[in-house]
C-alpha cells in the first residue's frame, strides 16, 4: 500500500457548499502540507495523500483514519508531547505534528 493517493493533482476537497477558511501550510513529519485553517488534521492528511498514519502493534499492518469521531484511536498523531486523535485536531498555520512511526524512528 503506497502512501499517496492515485491522483494527487485532483483534490478530494469539494467546494460547492462551503467557503473554506484561510489556506495555510502546516508541518507533518518535518514536511510542509497545504491545507485550510480549521480543517481536521486527519482529513487534511487524507486529502494530501498521507493515508497511512501508523502501524498496528502486533502485525505491523498499515492503518489510517477510520471513524473520524475520536473513537477508534487509529488516527493518532503527536503534537509536541501530546498524542491526539487527528480527527479532533484543527489545522492551524503554526501547527507541527509527527506521525507515530516518524516519532518512533526519530526518538527510538
Amino acid at each position: 500500500m503506497t502512501k499517496t493517493s492515485p491522483s494527487p493533482s485532483l483534490s478530494l476537497r469539494t467546494d460547492h457548499a462551503v467557503r473554506r477558511g484561510l489556506a495555510v501550510r502546516f508541518v507533518v513529519d518535518g514536511q510542509p502540507v497545504d491545507a485550510f485553517e480549521g480543517e481536521s488534521v486527519a482529513a487534511a492528511l487524507y486529502a494530501a495523500g498521507l493515508r497511512e498514519l501508523r502501524r498496528s502493534p502486533r502485525d505491523g499492518a498499515p492503518r489510517g483514519l477510520f471513524c473520524m469521531m475520536g473513537s477508534c484511536q487509529e488516527c493518532l498523531v503527536w503534537v509536541g508531547t501530546r498524542k491526539l486523535p487527528s480527527c479532533q485536531l484543527a489545522v492551524a498555520a503554526a501547527l507541527e505534528i509527527e506521525t507515530l512511526s516518524y516519532r518512533e524512528q526519530r526518538i527510538g
Binding site: T14, V18, E37, S40, L65, Q73
Partner: protein, 479 residues
C-alpha cells in the same frame, strides 16, 4: 480541585443533548452542556470547521439548516456550554472529571443526562483495516463537515440508510461511486415504507437518491457484502460476496470485483454505553435498538438515581426522535429535582411522548435495517482482525471461548481483545456476537465492564503541574 456544583450536566451536544439542555434551562435548572467537539450538533448535525462559511450560492441541506438552527438556539438561550472538553471519569456520586485546553476541571451535578449517541459498527472482513477503508459515518463527516470526498472512486458498502446518503453525497460532491453493496434486499427496504407514512419528505428524498444513482450508472447490488479488500497498485481491489437474508455469505464465484481508491463501509450504529456501564446501570440487549442499551423508562430514567439517557445512545430511534427524547429526560430530571410540578410535567410529557412515538417509528425502521445480522458475524473469516487496537483475530477469540472463556471480561483477559485505547468501542459488539456463538446468547456473554478513563488521557493531563512535595503520600507500606 473542588468540583463546581450544577443542577444538570448534559453530556453530548447532539440533537438529544442540546434539546435536553435547552429544556432543562427553560425549567429553571442550572445547566451545563458538555461536548468534546468544538460546537454542538453531534454526528448528525456536525458543524463545519471553525473558519469555514456556508457558500451563499449552494443550497443548504435540511440537515445543515437544522444544525445551524440548533446551534443558534443554544446561543440565544445562553446555555452554558463546555466544548472541546474530554470527559474521562465519573464518580458514583455523578461527579464528572473533564480535561480541556486549560487543564482538569470537575463538576458535581445533581443529575446527569447522557446523550452521547452511537458509534459505528463494522463487521470485519479481510482488509478492513487498510488505509482508505473508512466507516460510513466517517465518510458522512468527511462529506458534510470537512467537505471532502473519501476517494476519487469509492465502493460504498454495508447496511442501513447511510448507504444511500453517502453514495449520493459522493456523487453530489463530484466523486465516483464504483458500486453500492447492500446487505439488505429491495424487500427489506419496502418493508420500511409504512414507517415513512408520516415522513413523505424522507420517502421523496430516498426515491431521489435511488434515481440519482441509477442515472449515474452506479451498480447497486442488494444482498451483497464485501468479501475482502486488498491493496492493488496504488488503489484497492474490492471482492464482493453474495449473502443471504441473515448476512451469511453464500458460495458464488460470479460475485463481482471492483477497483477503487477508497471503501466506505458500515453495518449499523451501536449505542454508546461507556458512561452507563461505568456507573453500573443495568443494561439489556436489544438487537433492533443497536445492541446493549441501559434499561430505562420512557423518560430516560436508568436504574441509577439521577442518571438519565436520551437519544440514539439509549437505543436507535433516529435524529428526529432524539430531540423529543432529550426534552423528556430534561423534564423528568426537573421533576425529580423538585423543580417541575406534576401537572405541568404530565402535560408536557404527553405531548412530547406522542411526538417521540411518531418520529421514532421511522428511526426504528431504519434501526431494523441496520441491526446486526447473525449470519454476517458467523461469516467472519478466522484470520480476520476483530480487535483493531490489539490485532486480535476471530480465530483467537474462538480459541479462547473453546478453552473456557465464558464472558466478555474473561475473553478480554485471555486475548487482550478490548484492552487497547479504543476500550472496546470498535470491536465490542462484534466480539460479543462471536462469544455468544459459543456461550449461547449475548446476555450470557455480557459486556466489557465499564472502566475509567472514558477516553484516553495522559498522565500529564491528569497529574498537572506538581513538585515531589505535592504528591499526597499516604502511610508507607509495612516493612
Amino acid at each position: 480541585m473542588s468540583p463546581q456544583p450544577v443542577d444538570a450536566l448534559v453530556i453530548g451536544a447532539g440533537p438529544a443533548g442540546a434539546r435536553a439542555a435547552l429544556r432543562a434551562q427553560a425549567c429553571g435548572l442550572d445547566v451545563l452542556l458538555v461536548d468534546e467537539n468544538h460546537d454542538a450538533g453531534g454526528q448528525v448535525w456536525r458543524p463545519i470547521p471553525p473558519g469555514f462559511a456556508r457558500a451563499p450560492s449552494g443550497a443548504t441541506s435540511p440537515e445543515a439548516r437544522d444544525g445551524d438552527a440548533l446551534r443558534a438556539e443554544l446561543r440565544r438561550a445562553s446555555v452554558r456550554c463546555l466544548f472541546g472538553h474530554k470527559l474521562w471519569n465519573i464518580g458514583t456520586n455523578l461527579r464528572a472529571d473533564l480535561i480541556g485546553p486549560e487543564g482538569s476541571v470537575s463538576w458535581q451535578p445533581r443529575a446527569l443526562i447522557v446523550a452521547t449517541g452511537t458509534t459505528e459498527r463494522v463487521v470485519p472482513f479481510p482488509g478492513w483495516t487498510l488505509p482508505g477503508v473508512i466507516g460510513l459515518a466517517a465518510a458522512t463527516i468527511l462529506l458534510k463537515s470537512q467537505n471532502m470526498l473519501p476517494g476519487h472512486r469509492t465502493v460504498v458498502a454495508g447496511a442501513g440508510p447511510l448507504l444511500l446518503a453517502v453514495a449520493t453525497g459522493i456523487l453530489k460532491a463530484g466523486g465516483e461511486v464504483a458500486a453500492v453493496l447492500d446487505l439488505a434486499s429491495p424487500g427489506d427496504w419496502l418493508r420500511t415504507l409504512p414507517s415513512l407514512a408520516s415522513r413523505p419528505d424522507l420517502l421523496w428524498q430516498g426515491l431521489q437518491w435511488q434515481a440519482r444513482l441509477r442515472a449515474a450508472g452506479v451498480p447497486v447490488l442488494y444482498r451483497h457484502g464485501i468479501r475482502s479488500v486488498e491493496a492493488a497498485g496504488s488503489g484497492l481491489e474490492v471482492r464482493t460476496q453474495r449473502v443471504d437474508a441473515d448476512g451469511q455469505p453464500t458460495v458464488d464465484a460470479t460475485a463481482p470485483v471492483f477497483a477503487a481508491d477508497a471503501v466506505t463501509v458500515g453495518h449499523g450504529l451501536v449505542p454508546g454505553t461507556d458512561i452507563t456501564r461505568l456507573l453500573r446501570a443495568r443494561h439489556r440487549y436489544a438487537v433492533e435498538l443497536g445492541g446493549w442499551v441501559a434499561e430505562a423508562d420512557a423518560d430516560g430514567r436508568t436504574s441509577v438515581a439521577g442518571l438519565y439517557v436520551a437519544g440514539d445512545g439509549a437505543g436507535i430511534a433516529g435524529a428526529a426522535a432524539a430531540g423529543a427524547h432529550g426534552e423528556l429526560a430534561a423534564l423528568a430530571c426537573a421533576h425529580d429535582l423538585g423543580r417541575l410540578d406534576a401537572t405541568t410535567h404530565a402535560r408536557e410529557r404527553d405531548r412530547l411522548q406522542s411526538s417521540w412515538r411518531r418520529s421514532a417509528r421511522f428511526g426504528h425502521a431504519m434501526g431494523s435495517l441496520m441491526a446486526l445480522r447473525d449470519g454476517a458475524v458467523a461469516g467472519i473469516a478466522p484470520d480476520t482482525v476483530v480487535c483493531r487496537c490489539e490485532d486480535v483475530t476471530r480465530a483467537e477469540i474462538d480459541a479462547a471461548a473453546r478453552d473456557g472463556a465464558r464472558d466478555m471480561n474473561q475473553l478480554k483477559a485471555w486475548t487482550r481483545c478490548g484492552m487497547g485505547p479504543c476500550q472496546g468501542r470498535s470491536c465490542g459488539d462484534v466480539a460479543g456476537a462471536l462469544l455468544a456463538l459459543h456461550v449461547g446468547s449475548r446476555e450470557a456473554a455480557g459486556c466489557f465492564t465499564g472502566r475509567a478513563p472514558l477516553r484516553p488521557v495522559s498522565l500529564a493531563e491528569v497529574a498537572g503541574e506538581y513538585t515531589y512535595a505535592d504528591i499526597p503520600i499516604p502511610k508507607a507500606a509495612p516493612l
